[in-house]
């Protein structure tokens, strides 16, 4: 697929690729940079179209790893270009080359603002995108109000509103004061009624950020979140384009459940019941399927649901279901699921009752301690450490110390440390402690510290 109207760029890319070695490449690139520098110096004579070509070349050269600082000004200046093809380049290349602290960026604020409040939808999108990706505190102060207006405007297409939502999220992250909580109490609730799932995807990310800093203001949003989960869980009114391998927007489901984890409790019994029904359906209804992507998406939802169940401090029966599921997961072949099973079991330990039921899976967890994948070994170690108590301390510490003999370098230090802490904490009697700690542990440790 050829680049339209930019033959010069294609030729340049081909030239670079045909270079036999790094030296040749450097020569070719330097030649081009020299040419571009010269042309830029004579700026008055450069049309926007020509500037565009050189700025794209600059980005390509930057991606190769070379320095193109001299061209930052030109990239930013294209943002003021009157026509879309050139303006687009200005916005995109600026986003790649500059960061929020850059002086030149500040100089563009007025132009950017004009694009945001102007009538050209394409220019609005370009501006919202750049500000959303690299906007800093100053952009936040100048533009937040205008961006909010676009998000809440019913005359804006979903295309603009979803960009406005995430742009506002960025501005909020840079300066939380731009969102006046009093005004947003109702607005956020209305935004969650959004029918367009693209906009809802973006809005939900905004919501997670807002609620994570201030639950009090958003209690009225809680039932809305549950309704969204119900709708998606039942695949009601979900356009085909938003189902992923048959699953209604897994990403909205995951984000919504994440948002719910910021609410300390669910007071209303009806809402609570409805949510538990949804969660129960997920826990019981997620099968392992052959298609890797569908499996991952379904399990992404399942693991988030597990986290939510644990957070809500559900009834014992549901907790047992969770542990049973996790017990299954830590023994499957799929390494991703094994890893997440171990990680989530560790999280479950924070809940008082779960420890006993988790201990039933001790044998499998010890097997995971020796897994070929270091990521999994680390999770297994964390879990063993966390589930250790007077009843199983002897077994676990012995197991850890035995493994220490053959463990790889990356694991040894942590293994030794954790074993020592557990031995000291749970020593059943002094003779056991002194044998384990003094005899085995010191010998092994001196091995380590000699390295």
């Amino acid at each position: 697929m050829a680049l339209t109207g930019m033959r010069g760029l294609s030729v340049f890319i081909s030239d670079v690729r045909n270079c036999q070695n790094k030296e040749q490449e450097r020569l070719r690139v330097d030649k081009e940079l020299g040419n571009i520098r010269t042309r830029f110096k004579n700026e008055k004579a450069l049309t926007h179209y020509e500037k565009k070509k050189y700025v794209w070349k600059m980005l390509y050269i930057y991606m190769l790893g070379y320095d193109v600082d001299f061209g930052h000004m030109e990239a930013v200046s294209l943002i003021s270009a009157p026509k879309y093809p050139e303006k687009q380049v200005g916005y995109i290349v600026t986003s790649c080359l500059l960061t929020e602290n850059h002086e030149f960026l500040r100089m563009a604020i007025n132009t950017v603002r004009n694009d945001i409040i102007g009538r050209n939808e394409t220019f609005q999108c370009l501006a919202l995108t750049m500000v959303g990706n690299i906007g800093g505190k100053e952009f936040s102060e100048s533009l937040a109000t205008d961006v909010q207006k676009l998000l809440l405007s019913s005359s804006c297409r979903p295309l603009v509103r979803k960009k406005a939502a995430l742009c506002l999220l960025r501005l909020y992250r840079k300066n939380p004061d731009v969102i006046n909580i009093d005004g947003w109490y109702d607005r956020m609730s209305q935004l969650l009624d959004e029918r367009d799932l693209g906009v809802l995807t973006s809005v939900m990310s905004l919501f997670v950020a807002l609620v994570s800093n201030n639950v009090e203001a958003y209690w009225n949003c809680l039932p809305k979140c549950v309704k969204i989960l119900e709708r998606l869980g039942r695949n009601q009114d979900v356009p085909q384009e938003y189902t992923y391998y048959g699953i209604p927007s897994p990403w909205i489901q995951v984000k919504t459940m994440r948002a719910l984890q910021y609410f300390p409790t669910i007071e209303d019994p009806n809402t609570r019941r409805a949510l538990f029904e949804v969660l129960q359906h997920i826990l019981m209804g997620t099968d392992v399927v052959k298609n890797v992507n569908k499996n991952n998406a379904a399990h992404a939802i399942l693991f988030e649901a597990l986290a939510l169940v644990v957070h809500l401090d559900a009834e014992k029966e549901m907790m047992s279901q969770c542990v049973a599921l996790l017990g299954k997961f830590i023994a499957v072949r799929e390494p991703n699921i094994r890893y997440l099973g171990l990680e989530n079991m560790t999280r479950l330990l924070l809940v008082s009752d779960a420890q006993d039921i988790i201990k039933r899976h001790q044998a499998q967890i010890i097997i995971s301690l020796k897994d070929p994948d270091i990521s999994i070994r680390r999770r297994a170690l964390d879990l063993l450490y966390g589930m250790c108590d007077v009843t199983n301390a002897k077994d676990i510490v012995e197991e850890l110390l035995q493994y220490l003999n053959t463990a790889d370098l990356a694991m040894r230090e942590e293994l030794a440390l954790k074993a020592a802490i557990l031995a000291e904490k749970f020593a059943p009697d002094l003779s056991w402690y002194s044998y384990q700690f003094l005899h085995q542990f010191h010998i092994i440790c001196s091995d380590i510290f000699q390295m």
Partner: protein, 142 residues
């Protein structure tokens, strides 16, 4: 949130780099080098998630290209793994059976597509149809 997205080939050449956190050029180069080293040596039988500094990198290999996303330590791993896959499907659709060369010669289009998919380090749109349609709209304006 997504802190950065990298597309690198086996030799470590960067085919796409998008950062949603401010980093100086020297820091970017360091990151790209470290992430490449991290993912290129991982056994395909191991997990697609690996700790990176105080965050984690979710990655997957497609032919000769490594797609990596650095996310917060608390983010949902599988959701981002499938986010990567969705991105690949979009590219595949747009370029009709995408290959590395398409991404090299059309790098500017890849940035455009990415900007319709992810914004401010968050997923913006998950409908392939909506994104491809939008790209069509933009092409008409060129």
């Amino acid at each position: 949130m997504i802190r950065f997205i990298l597309l690198q080939n086996r030799q470590g050449k960067t085919r796409l780099a998008k950062y949603y956190i401010p980093l100086e050029d020297s820091e970017k180069h360091k990151v790209e080098y470290e992430v490449h080293r991290l993912v290129v040596n991982r056994d395909p039988k191991h997990t697609n998630f690996v700790e990176f500094r105080t965050h984690k990198v979710i990655y997957r290999r497609y032919a000769g290209l490594f797609f990596s996303m650095c996310v917060d330590i608390t983010d949902n791993e599988l959701a981002y793994l499938e986010c990567i896959h969705l991105f690949v499907e979009i590219l595949d659709h747009f370029f009709s059976n995408v290959c590395e060369l398409d991404l090299v010669f059309n790098f500017h289009k890849v940035y455009l597509i990415l900007d319709e998919f992810i914004l401010a380090g968050e997923i913006q749109e998950t409908s392939k149809r909506a994104i491809i349609e939008r790209m069509g709209e933009l092409e008409k304006q060129e």
